[in-house]
Each structure stands twice: as C-alpha cells, then as structure tokens.
C-alpha cells in the first residue's frame, strides 16, 4: 500500500466516496456486464445434449468432443491462422500509416477517418459488399480472402493504439539520433520502434482479437471447406443444437480474458 499513490491522492479518494445508490448501481451494471457471459462456463460442463442451464449432471464430455472433433479443431486452426496473419498485416500497415499520420500537417483528419471507416460502417453492409466483390475475385472461402478482410477490419485498432503511443513520444529524439549520425532507418529501428513497441503490441493483440471474434464477414466468406470458429459456433446454434459450443465459448472467454490483461499490463509498464 505504501507505493507511489501519494497521500493527497488517498485523501481525495476518501473524499469522493460513492453514495449507496450509485454503489448499488455500479454493482448491478457490473453484474449485467459480466454475468451473462459466464453462463457458458457451467454449461460447458453439463452432461445433457441440449442447451440446458443450469445443467443437471456434470461431465467433461463437451471438451472431449471439442478436442476430438475434426470440424471444431479445423475451425479453431483456421481462426488462429487467419487471426495471426490478419493481425500481422494490419500491424505492418497500421504502424506505417500511424507514423506517416503523425508527421502530416494537412489532411490528417480526413485520411484518419478513411482508415477508421471499417470500424464505423454497419457490419452487414460491409460484409455483403466484400462478399460481392470477393465472389468475383474468387477470394471467398480462401485463406487470403479471410486475411485481407480481417486485416482491413483490424487496421483501425492498430492505428488507434499506435497513435496513442506516438502521442507521448517526443520527435526531438529523432533529431537527437540524427545529430549523432544515425541514418533514418536506424533511428526508426533503435529509437522510434522501441518507444512505441507497447502500442504496436497492443495493436496486434486488438487486431487479432477482432479477427478471432469477427463473424458477420466470415459468415458470408465461409464455404464448407473453410470456416472460422465463430462461424462454426453460429452454425452449432442455428443448424444443430450442439452443446460443444459451450466448451468452445468457455475456452474463448478464458483465453480472451487473459489476452485482455496483456495490453493493460503493458500500459502499466509503459507508465512506470
């Protein structure tokens, strides 16, 4: 407790303590935010073959099902592969764009808006549009198609994250490096990138999570030969009542919760 938050800060905290009404509201909202998602975890240990909550009997059956099913594992592998490739592409494009935007004087707002557009426009319109063109280009149902579509959707997250890092970065460092004789690329590699590295990594993680979770575009691009995990999950509700989705959901919830703490942890490191 005796670490850096100063005494005045502690006093301020005490001063502004919440009233009971507000406190109750916060607890209720926190419950609404988190509880519905957690439903999937007890369900994944159910023994029944319907979507039954809470389950009457318990088993590991659906986990065994998940890890032995060719279809579920293939969907998982596709999602991981698409996610890593799309996030890598989005990160390279996003870092470059963020560096350029940071130095732009005019037109920065417009260019940024254009690159952010994939995050803002209605998902269904984007999905249908991409599907239409990818059908013609024979990109639907291909790894390349998924990667390109998901990279575009992940780009805004990389851009935001890297720009946030760059905001706290002093360009005088580059001049210092240059005055010491460092060529521009060396400066980028040894000065700029290490400073914005946490932002780049968070951007990558966000882009991966976006791709891993993306389902609207993937629903249209999928073919029986290649589908991602969210698509398989969607089908397991709509086409067949397959409780394996509970196990898949639980694994994702646990996994993404861990991922969520990575940027938070990096940011803390960056601050200290």
């Amino acid at each position: 407790m005796a670490d850096n938050p100063s005494i005045s800060k502690a006093a301020a905290v005490r001063q502004r303590s919440l009233g009971w009404g507000l406190r109750l509201w916060v607890v209720l909202v926190a419950f609404v935010l988190v509880a519905p998602t957690l439903v999937v975890i007890p369900m994944s240990f159910g023994a029944g073959s319907t979507f039954e909550f809470p389950p009457k009997d318990w088993s590991w059956h659906w986990y065994a099902e998940f890890f032995t099913s060719k279809q579920w594992l293939a969907a998982l592998a596709n999602s991981v592969q698409v996610g890593v490739l799309a996030a890598a592409l989005a990160t390279v494009l996003g870092v470059a764009a963020a560096l350029a935007l940071d130095r732009m004087r005019r037109g920065r707002g417009v260019v940024r808006q254009l690159l952010m557009a994939p995050m803002i426009l209605p998902g269904i319109v984007v999905a249908v549009a991409i599907y239409g063109v990818f059908l013609r280009w024979q990109l639907n149902g291909t790894m390349l198609g998924f990667v390109l579509a998901h990279a575009v959707l992940g780009l805004p997250f990389v851009l935001t994250s890297v720009q946030t890092s760059l905001a706290g970065y002093d360009p005088i460092m580059e001049k210092a490096a240059a005055s010491l004789g460092a060529p521009r690329f060396t400066t980028l590699r040894k000065v700029v990138l290490p400073i914005i590295a946490p932002g780049v990594l968070s951007g990558f993680v966000f882009a991966f999570a976006t791709s891993f979770d993306e389902v609207v575009v993937a629903l249209f691009l999928q073919t029986p030969a290649i589908k991602t995990l969210p698509v398989k999950m969607y089908e397991s509700i709509v086409l067949e009542i397959d409780p394996t989705i509970a196990a898949a959901s639980s694994l994702i919830v646990v996994f993404t919760t861990i991922l969520l703490f990575v940027p938070a942890f990096l940011r803390r490191k960056e601050q200290s």
Partner: protein, 293 residues
Amino acid sequence: MTAVATRPPATGQAGPEKRRTSWLLLPAAAVVLVFFFYPLAVILWRSFSEPSFGVGNYLAVLGDEVQIRVMLRTLRTALIITAATLVIAYPYAYAMTLVGRRARTVLTLLVLMPFWTSLMARNFAWYVLEQRGGVIEKALSAIGIDGVVLLGSVAGVTVAMVQVMLPFMVLPLQSSMLSIDRSLLHAAGSLGARRPVAFLRVYVPLSMPGVLAGVSVVFIMSLGFYITPALLGTPQQALVAQVIGTQVNDLLDFAGAGALGTILLVVTLVVLAVLSRVAAPLGTSAAGGADRG
C-alpha cells in the same frame, strides 16, 4: 535514405519531412481502398444498375409496406437500445470518475471484459438465458409473470443488444467525464445551487460531448447489427440487417441488398446529422466552458 544524414541543418521544417514520410500511408490506404471502399462502391453501383439502370431498387424498397415496417422497427429498436444503454451507463461512467485509480482499473476491466469476450459466446449465452424454460422465464414466473419467452422476439434482441452495446456507451462517457473540472460543481454550490441542480445544469451539459459520442456509436452499431437479431430474433419481426443478409444469402440479390444497405446508411447519417445539430450548441458551449475552467 542515405541523403537523410544531411538533414539536420534543415531542422523544424514541416515541408520536407512530410514529403519524406507520407509514402508510408500508401500500403494501408491501398488495402483499405481496394478491399473496403471498392466493394462498397461496387454494391452501391449495382443497386443503381441491376437489373436495369435507375432507382428501381430504391422505389421497390420504399414502395414495399413490409420493408418500410422493417425499417421503422429497426429505427425504433435502435432508439430504445440507445436510450436504455445511456440510462444504464451514465451513472456507471460517472462513478468511474469518482473512485480511486485502482477501483477505476477494476471498473474499466469489467467494461472491457464483455467488449473483448467473444460476441458469439455472449450471443449463445443470451440464447440460453432467453430460451423456453430458460433462466429469464423461470425468474419472471417466480415473481408472478408467467410465460415470458424472450427468444424469438424484438424484446429479446433488445435486451441482449443493450448488454452488448454497454461498453460502447460507458467508454466515451467516461473519457468525456474525466476531463470535467469538478471544482465547477463546487463553484455552482457556492453560488447557491443545490447539488442536484448543480449536477443537472453544470455537470450534465459538460458531459454532452461524451453523451453524443456514445449515443452516436451505439445508435449506428444497433442499426446495422446482424448477429444478435439473426440468432435471437425471428424472420416475422426482422430487422434491416437480417433482411439484407437474407437477400444476399438466399437470393443472391446484391442489387436489392445494396439499395437497402444504402438506405440504411443514409438514414444513419441523417439521424446523426440531426442529433449533432440538436446537441451542437450544448456541446460547443460545454467545450468552451471546460476550456475556460
């Protein structure tokens, strides 16, 4: 690249520096143009050119009573979701600005958790909660309200979407509220305003930029949301996104879907323009006030 070593004498000049780095934008711009804006342009073009040139697809949508009803239902649902999200999120975001740093981190992570946990997992969870014999039906019948099955109704879609959209409301609200100078409340108090009055007349207007940002994001996303209505809703009570999806999936009618999608975009933009027009005086005066404070 090697010529750069001679750059230091030209310090502080924006011009040459800009020319040197703006090419870094090209790859991202190219990818977004080719794989995002081009497809949008194509579907827009098709909506005006297939099966024949003209606004036939648009007239078909606007002349179809069912389509109009779908559109109105979508607008109404999005408005309800936006209003409910705002009412639920505002006190939560406000509380986030009052607590200490550690508690704020916890409250932030609580908001981010659903934000990043799988959308499919959450929709599945809502499917389970809302189904016949599910937790919600049982809980309601325990307090004497029998036979409420939310699954397959607009109400069910609304409830689930409010939860899905909450983080998109909380985060902008909170970031706007963090910049509000609380000493203005004390000033209002010292001038004789009671606390609720001071809150309503000083704090709420100052938080309008955040309200506007949150309302815009949630409203736009609600209008175009596909997965939740497709999973938890019903074709009889379809929302626009569902209809667009069906047109493409079942009929491969890109022109019709494009027309409907374009109308959806236009309606979104019009509502947003009205919204910002209404809130602009509040927002700008609030920003001005905050600057002075």
